[in-house]
Amino acid sequence: MYGRYGYQFCVEKGDLKVCFSKDEDFIRYFRSLGDKTVERIVASESGTVYINPVEPLNLPDEVTRFLEIRFEPILIEPEAVRQIYLTFPIEIGVFLGKSDAIQLIDVFSRMPQKYSLYGPTDTGVITRYYWSAVYLHRPSPDPWYEGVLELTMHNTTKGWIEVSRVVFENYGMKIYFDQELVSMKAHMQIIKHTIAETSFIDKPMREGMQKSIELYYSRKIPGVERAISYTMEEGMS
């Protein structure tokens, strides 16, 4: 169901229904999921409809730009590099595209939303909260519910570190998808006992995956290839 479509189509999956239909000179968009329906009228002759997963930070409102995934505590030995797999919630965006102009018209999700606070109540940040199990091998969740995050943790300190959460910033979140998998790759560099730097890697988890349209994109500085990172200063557990 993820992919590109023309202006006349209708797809259904369980209780989800997404339809575009022509009505004289206008296009009608209809989406229903559970007991919620959304209808929009589009004035357009021709164009492309894109349906793909987007950064899970839009529902029920754009409350924050941080995604926090919590998981079972993992103790990492000094100067070790380990890779784990986590899951993240999926939000699906419906875009209209004409030439280079792309417009988001709807975002929906099958996953419940929950927010949390990372850090103290005066200087912390609100985060989109998600609990994930820890997988040592890539899991295969339903791509309409959850995506897979490949997280490489690098403990650069001389001590043992316990990690049970990772916080990412929306800018630079790179989501890839195909019909069976939605994925992200990220890196977490533990700098001190309570400080770590997180960033996304702009690569698919396997070949043939398409890159999602980014809602939050950062302007690249020519010649500077450094990934956009977030510094977790309030601990990792």
Binding site: L59, P60, D61, V63, T64, P112, Q113, K114, Y115, S116, L117, Y118, T121, D122, G124, V125, I126, Y129
Partner: protein, 319 residues
């Protein structure tokens, strides 16, 4: 007149140049005034262009409050620069001002005490930044949203939509409560949730916790506190304290209480009315046989309301 000599032309009375270079106010000539006007118009245009460019360049990257603050600072700096550029054309002797203007400055200081106070307070507000544009604040008994922080006053809009201008000196010396400066805040249901003594408080707490957990804006961390607070005369009182994002707490607070009530009732837990047991010292004797049953409720058949006849314009009533 020798027209071949430029100096002669320049000094000749009646020529435009002569008129332009003849001092009219002190040493200031009309030509100086023209320059002042040109510089002023240029400065105004420049300020406008700079403001627009700032908004275009940073509008989508910098928060609106920060952008407004930056624009205000740049605008005032440009005004100051314009003033300094204009001064020489007006032949304004600053050294003279320092010597002779002491007394005037003192008099002005007294006369414009409030204005200066507002100005200085405004600058402190801009740099200290206890409030930003868009913040919800409480000052005294008023709760409002900050619309604009100007150099002399701050404009706020109350939650009733009323425009209020507060002089900066008053604002600066007031106790300001910024309701949204921290990312999260806690609220509680002050009356608490009351359940009957016969109901299971543990089950009620579990239901309340589950309901809170389903609310996106009820923060996971710091988590909510739900506990039995008081064994009251006719109820067991449960207190609920929830952390929420500062900008979303009110919506959550207003929605959740009713949902909790409905969910508790669905699970057979009721919120009791205040009740009191009365014990009589003597046994009351009442002859129940003499109490008659109330008369049966008589059904009244539907009767359509007769339409009133409307009088047409010009017609008189029957009386």
């Amino acid at each position: 007149m020798d027209i071949s000599d430029p100096e002669t032309i320049f000094r000749s009375e009646g020529t435009i140049l002569h008129l332009l270079t003849t001092p009219v106010i002190g040493e200031t000539t009309p030509l100086d005034l023209v320059w002042v006007l040109i510089i002023f118009i240029f400065a105004l245009t420049l300020i406008r262009v700079v403001r627009i460019q700032l908004k275009r360049s940073f509008g989508d990257r910098v928060p609106k409050s920060d952008l407004d603050f930056m624009t205000t600072i740049v605008t005032y700096l440009l005004y100051l620069a314009t003033f300094l550029v204009i001064l020489p054309y007006l032949h304004f002797d600053l050294s003279g001002l320092f010597v002779a203007g002491g007394i005037i400055a003192l008099a002005l200081a007294f006369a414009t005490q409030n204005i200066v106070s507002n100005l200085v307070s405004g600058l402190f507000l801009m740099f200290e930044r206890p409030i930003k544009i868009g913040d919800n604040i409480s000052i005294g008994s008023m709760t409002a949203t900050v619309q604009n922080i100007q150099i002399m006053s701050t404009i706020v809009r109350t939650f009733d939509g009323i425009y209020v201008r507060i002089p900066n000196s008053r604002l600066f010396t007031s106790d300001i409560t910024n309701l949204v400066i921290h990312p999260a805040r806690r609220f509680e249901y002050t009356i608490g949730i009351r359940i009957r003594y016969r109901d299971d408080a543990g089950k009620a707490i579990s239901i309340i916790r589950d309901m809170i957990d389903k609310q996106p804006y009820a923060l996971k961390s710091p988590g909510p506190s739900v506990y039995v607070d008081k064994l009251d005369s006719s109820s067991v009182n449960i207190v609920v304290k929830i952390w929420a994002p500062s900008l979303y707490w009110w919506g959550l607070r207003t929605e959740l209480l009713w949902r909790l009530k409905v969910e508790l009732e669905k699970n057979g837990i009721q919120i009791p009315f205040p009740q009191q047991e009365v014990w009589f010292n003597n046994i009351l004797k009442a002859d129940m046989k003499s109490v008659k049953e109330p008369p049966p409720i008589r059904e009244i058949p539907f009767q359509p309301i007769e339409k009133e006849e409307k009088t047409k314009p010009g017609e008189t009533h029957g009386w």
